[in-house]
């Protein structure tokens, strides 16, 4: 999921950085400062999750948790993912500093989409709908992120269909696992702390 340094050309890197900057600016504007501790905890979870390697499938893949981030944080997921990716690049050498913008956008944009698609459905009283929505949320987070990676790699001269197939198939096990993680997290929170599922964007 993390694109290494030296793979992408400058225009792609600059576009990614600009989009991430815009997303983070909007995310910070929307951030409800009383929720900062929650954002920090989920940032840590995202930071650590990439160390959990999924040993199934042809390539080396790991958890991302961007669906869950979007579901619980809304727009705040943007700055949260940027900080976590910065630390991953610094401490684990995942991705890189120059590709930070592109990588952050690739993971945070699907998180926002997931938020708009599922944040309401997960809170529905009907458990079947709510849990189904949570699973699809986790699944779609990775699927969209894989497609974003594929789109970026198209600019390096790869045909889209081929690279997309490769990335999506490699991440299929992660999609299912993240669907389940999101399902259980959402189920757990809904039962015990339903107020955490209410993403509160600052009213300003």
């Amino acid at each position: 999921m993390h694109i290494s340094e030296g793979v992408l050309s400058a225009p792609v890197l600059v576009t990614g950085a600009a989009l991430t900057a815009a997303g983070c600016g909007f995310g910070l504007k929307k951030l409800d400062y009383d929720r900062v501790p929650q954002v920090a905890i989920l940032t840590s979870a995202f930071f650590v999750a990439s160390l959990i390697h999924v040993p199934i499938g042809p390539s080396s893949v790991h958890l991302v948790l961007n669906g869950l981030m979007g579901l619980l944080l809304g727009w705040s997921a943007f700055p949260a993912i940027l900080i976590a990716l910065f630390l991953q690049a610094l401490l684990f050498q995942f991705g890189g500093i120059t590709t930070l913008g592109v990588n952050a956008f690739n993971m945070a944009f699907p998180a926002i989409i997931c938020f708009y698609l599922f944040a309401y459905a997960v809170k529905v009283r009907n458990n079947l709908i709510s849990m189904g929505a949570a699973f699809v949320c986790g699944f779609l987070g990775i699927l969209l992120a894989s497609l974003m990676v594929a789109i970026c790699l198209v600019f390096t001269g790869n045909p889209f269909i081929g690279i997309a197939k490769l990335v999506v198939i490699a991440h299929l096990p992660v999609m299912i696992i993240e669907g389940l993680i999101t399902l259980f997290s959402a189920g757990f929170l809904k039962k015990l702390k339903p107020e955490l599922l209410e993403v509160v964007h600052a009213k300003r």
Partner: protein, 216 residues
């Protein structure tokens, strides 16, 4: 700060406990799976060949991945694919700084540079450098006399000794090379993980600090 602010006492523990438990779980799991995710390329010279090993940092070998070799001017010298153990070896076509680039698909890439000095002498690869024998002779003949047959003989002998020593050294250094590769492979340490988490909470502290000052 208004009275009904959720930041009042007890909010932290009440609302964030599930996340704390979840985070603990994640840390616990990751402690037993301290795997990292990137590709690592490692290359070394043995005899007259350059050997490369490539793997994902969880230890999985990158098989069938593309390896490209560039010279110091960025001109591509050769390319190839790794075998199923992630290995690829080649004879350097000329003596120059070799930049070896691994592309392992899905945006994974790593590079490794072997300086020209580590490559085998010109005698072993390609056409011999005419300057080198002269230099060796002049070393033997510091007073600048014309090379005598004895010095010629010495030169051949030295050449042979050099080869034998190199071979023996390669053999002896093999386990150390393997150890180095393994070390590089060990991935992320607990300290790095805790450091990152501490960093994130530090940022949180700073934000909350300025927030609370502004509220007063």
């Amino acid at each position: 700060m208004p009275k009904d602010s959720p930041l009042k006492k007890g909010w932290l523990s009440r609302a964030t406990w599930p996340s704390v438990i979840f985070l603990m779980l994640v840390i616990f799991v990751s402690a037993s799976y301290t795997f990292a995710h990137r590709v690592v390329l490692f290359a070394y010279v043995e005899g007259d060949k350059v050997f490369t090993e490539s793997y994902f940092s969880d230890g999985k070998r990158c098989h069938n991945s593309r390896i490209e070799v560039f010279d110091s001017f960025g001109k591509k010298l050769l390319e190839g694919k790794t075998n199923k153990d992630g290995e690829f070896s080649f004879k350097p076509p000329k003596r120059t700084d070799l930049k070896i680039v691994l592309t392992a698909g899905m945006g994974h890439r790593d590079e490794y540079t072997i300086p020209a000095g580590e490559l085998p002498g010109e005698g072993n690869i390609g056409k011999p450098d005419p300057r080198q024998p002269e230099k060796m002779v002049s070393l033997k003949e510091p007073n600048g006399e014309k090379p005598t047959p004895t010095s010629q003989f010495n030169r051949v002998e030295i050449e042979q000794i050099r080869l034998v020593v190199e071979e023996a050294l390669d053999e002896k250094l093999k386990p150390i090379m393997r150890l180095l590769v393994k070390r590089q492979n060990e991935g992320v340490s607990f300290i790095q993980v805790m450091g990152g988490i501490g960093f994130i909470f530090g940022i949180m502290g700073i934000i909350l600090y300025f927030r609370s000052r502004r509220g007063k």
